[in-house]
Subunit: 434 residues, 2 copies
């Protein structure tokens, strides 16, 4: 068996067996398969695809390439939520405390922002003192005490995925269903969860630009997770426009606290409750989705979720005053209003453009080494469906010295589409799959 | 512009412009584009293809990456013949002297065998003393004196092709029309030819397994050559079964001499004359193909081509007695007959299997560093169409100490198909394209 033969077989549309996939994945990690062979293989997989059986093998090999996280000491049913990444996606900060307040144990393993998509860890670290680098014993303690924890991935988990992802990132082989599935699930499986809720984003600000490809990804994620013993469900949610009214780390934390207090943008509240309800249902805390949704609404509206969030922040070293005083969060020095150039209705806001503009202001990173400015970002004053008159604010750019505010204003204005008719209201939750 | 963006554009089926292709080709040669990015790009090209315009740009960039061979001092019209590679393909040894005897100047740049296909340089070097590493001044002198020369590629010609080919060879990206075209033509264009005849092989022993893909390659070769100022025509020729009755370096030289003497296998004679006629016609030595074919037959049958061959061997340092005494060629120590296991007609001989068996005996190389045994190979006793009785010889394996003769006998026998009906006779020349 040689790397050449395996690449050629996949190139020609063949189905690889377990020994062949192991030869590539383990060989690459060991340095026996050259990176130029792996990248050709990954591109062949992107074009030829992988069957469900191949995807399961790939995921299992990535999982087995590294350590697992022993959370068995946590009592109760452990459920995580994973998002495929979007713009303004602060849902973890709301979903986790809502689910935890309903009795679910939520040991959430999260990531950092890359490119136009934000990362939950970056958002949390805008809270003064907050740490996300806790080890397994700490995670067990915090989840047992508070009901939830949100921490970064241990470098010992799924090293094959890390090495393959780094290569995919520079060879245009990210956008490939079986590779995405292997990457997501190998890490989730390593955490020893009892169930997983997937938030698969669809639209301009997401990896998956159309409903069909997002559904294909969600179906493969669910099938592979189940075949590897992890019950999973997925919601397809809309990512055409940014989620909520804020994009940027501290801005999104403040907005999440608003939602946990029972106010905040309706789309964030609706999507958070829908995801939390699935976690509650999967954990067996409610008999059906409707009952689970009622529980989620109750623990959000009665302040229990906010209380969990405050204890979670304190447990991970953050300043718990963040739940009562957003003034503890870093704020940008410049605020520039983006005024509407014409009158009408906001019919669309390009999530990708808003994400890229926020990235350019310093809220995100282009490479994993880049520092992140917690304070900067974009606040949307007129979300989709608003009526605006020429000169009225569409958005506010939050910037610090060194950020190109003028460029951000121009780009933000261009991301708004203004038309003559009010667009039909639509739900963020497009479809549920299990 | 980044390598990532260019890979992604090609992956998504986009047409690259000249700056983008230059970024990849020149960047790779300069070390600015990593090999793992180039291999992902090459696999994307394999799947997405390249337009005629892109292929022309790629070919020109590969040509311009290195030196050109100045053969302007050679008087007369310079025409080369290039084969896409086959099993038992000794045609250059006959075509070049026939064309030269008819007045064409033939500065042939040839290659070495790799994998199951043989190489003209390896065949020539089985002649004692023969050298193929002559420089430009020597090529000018030899072609001017004798009418032909056959030498290896200068390492200064098309270095981008050399570096890309080495990567393609280990990443399963050889079988791709625009990449094959760029690789072949960049080197032919560097030789300053006036015209080129292409022998595109079709069938089990060739790169192109079916007529349709061989025609697509031939058409793209002709179109790209013409757009870069090099008149070209192509013959599609059959490579289902080995060409002639010998596979192996010295064996093929001896067979070529037989053909130059007016005997030898009819398929080798027919194909050689057809190719030489195209060279004669392109050089303007004959008005049409029929007249050119008559000229080719005449210079073959009157001994002029054999005389040119003898002078060519002598000019390049080889023992000219090879034209009268095959005993000067190295001979294998073991000859093992492969007997027919059943009676009937030979309906097919798998060229790929024969090529691989000859390779395993030492006649070819798996990597460019492997030494080649000039004496070993396979001699076919019963070509396609022969009637054989059980126990009669199908072939003779020529082996030296260390070669696995038993395995070669078994494999050679299995490469023969014996059936109840005599197969219809068919010409090796399947189609002419210009």
């Amino acid at each position: 068996m040689t790397a050449y033969e395996i690449i050629a077989k996949k190139r020609d549309g063949g189905e690889l067996d377990s020994a062949e996939i192991a030869f590539m994945v383990n060989g690459f990690l060991a340095g026996d398969v050259a990176d130029y062979q792996m990248s050709a293989f990954l591109m062949a997989v992107l074009f030829s695809g992988m069957s469900e059986a191949e995807t399961e093998i790939l995921t299992r090999l990535m999982l087995e390439s590294g350590a697992t996280l022993d959370l068995s000491a946590v009592e109760g049913v452990k459920v995580d939520k994973h998002s495929t990444g979007g713009v303004g996606d602060k849902l973890s900060l709301i979903v986790a405390p809502v689910a935890a307040a309903a009795g679910v144990r939520v040991p959430m393993i999260s990531g950092r922002g890359l490119g136009h998509t934000g990362g939950t860890l970056d958002k949390l670290e805008s809270i003064p003192g907050m740490r996300t680098d806790w080890g397994p014993e700490d995670v067990v303690r915090i989840v047992s005490d508070v009901g939830m924890a949100i921490v970064g991935q241990s470098p010992e988990v799924a090293p094959a995925d890390r090495k393959m992802y780094a290569l995919r990132d520079v060879t245009a082989t990210i956008e490939c269903v079986p590779l995405i599935v292997g990457s997501i699930l190998s890490k989730k499986l390593a955490a020893g969860l009892d169930a997983l809720v997937l938030d698969v984003k669809v639209g301009r600000g997401a990896f998956m630009k159309d409903h069909e490809s997002a559904r294909a990804l969600a179906q493969r994620l669910i099938a592979t997770a189940k075949s590897l013993g992890l019950p999973a469900v997925a919601l397809l949610t809309d990512m055409e426009s940014p989620l909520g009214l804020t994009v940027g780390n501290a801005l999104e934390v403040a907005e999440s606290v608003e939602v946990l207090k029972g106010s905040g943008p309706p789309d964030v509240r609706e999507t958070s409750l829908a995801l939390a309800a699935r976690m509650i249902q999967l954990a067996g805390e409610s008999a059906d989705t409707e009952a689970a949704l009622a529980v989620a609404e109750r623990v959000l509206d009665d302040g229990s979720a906010l209380e969990v969030f405050g204890r979670f922040v304190a447990a991970q070293g953050g300043d718990p005053r963040v739940v009562s005083d957003p003034g503890v969060l870093p704020a940008a020095t410049l605020r520039e209003t983006v005024a509407a150039a014409s009158s009408g209705y906001v019919t669309a806001i390009d999530a990708l453009e808003i994400g890229l503009t926020s990235l350019a202001l310093g809220a995100g990173r282009t490479t994993v080494e880049d520092p992140v400015d917690p304070a900067v970002g974009i606040e949307i004053a007129s979300p989709v469906g608003s009526e605006v008159s020429r000169g009225e604010p569409l958005a506010i750019v939050h910037a610090n010295e060194g950020g190109d505010v003028d460029a951000a204003v121009v780009r933000t204005r261009a991301a708004f589409e203004i038309g003559g008719e009010r667009p039909a209201a639509r739900s963020r939750v497009l479809e549920a799959l299990d």
